[in-house]
Symmetry: C2
Subunit: 116 residues, 2 copies
DNA sequence: CCGCAGTACTTTGAAATGTCAATTGATGTG
DNA sequence: CACATCAATTGACATTTCAAAGTACTGCGG
């Protein structure tokens, strides 16, 4: 994505991470407490498993979330996802978005609304 | 995207807007001052004109940016894009991202880095 | 006057990305 | 045992973004 022009600006990189689809939703859901896979899928509202798995791996690689696999006894594992300290500090970003949204995005028409 | 589950949460909608590719970059560039089309394209760093046009239209529809077409004299028009008050208040969001980025994203490996 | 550069886009087709539906394999419930 | 749930995985499909080229117009140098 040619990060060269800015001389490697952290903000540029952060935007690159946060604009990925579902990322902010995932963080927001996890800010509310750790969750399992399907639970998280429902919380973010409609992300499918393929995308979610992928996003989760990416966020784990960036150390924003942590995956803890509790082995109940056998092989089955309930995976629990939670935020790392770095991830939790995204609360500030979510809050900023929340503040802005409540002020400026309350009555705006939505293009993705059910037209039919 | 099924906005139904949250009962129409403004934060959910805001995230939907802000996670669109280049949106945050565009806002950040415009926060620095109004810009023409090509100028803006260079400032955001690598967005192609088709996408930029589309994003700009979307953001204008959402009243986050304003397009002013200065007709020099004939038909030629230099379009100048600037933030509306609502758009300018995204400064808070950009700041939050900036703060977070400087603290947690300075040395993180980048998955999009040239692997070869 | 002619061509080159710059303005703001639009068009094209291909590539990247995201989504869906079905499926897997394990486990617990009726 | 059939069925639902959990955490994914797979492959087809749809959408999004891409780079490059083209359009239409102006201003500048030669």
């Amino acid at each position: 994505m040619s990060t060269a022009h800015t001389g490697f600006c952290p903000v540029y990189r952060a935007i690159g991470v946060l604009q990925e689809k579902w990322v902010l939703h995932i963080v927001r859901a996890l800010l509310d407490g750790e969750k399992g896979f399907n639970e998280l899928a429902r919380a973010v509202g409609g992300c499918n498993s393929a995308t979610l798995t992928q996003r989760l791996e990416h966020l784990e690689a960036l150390a924003l979330i942590a995956k803890r696999t509790e082995d109940t006894q056998g092989k089955l594992a309930r995976s629990v996802y939670s935020l790392t300290p770095a991830g939790r500090e995204l609360q500030g970003v979510i809050d900023a978005i929340g503040t802005w949204a409540r002020e400026h995005l309350s009555e705006t028409p939505v293009e993705g609304a059910p037209t039919a």
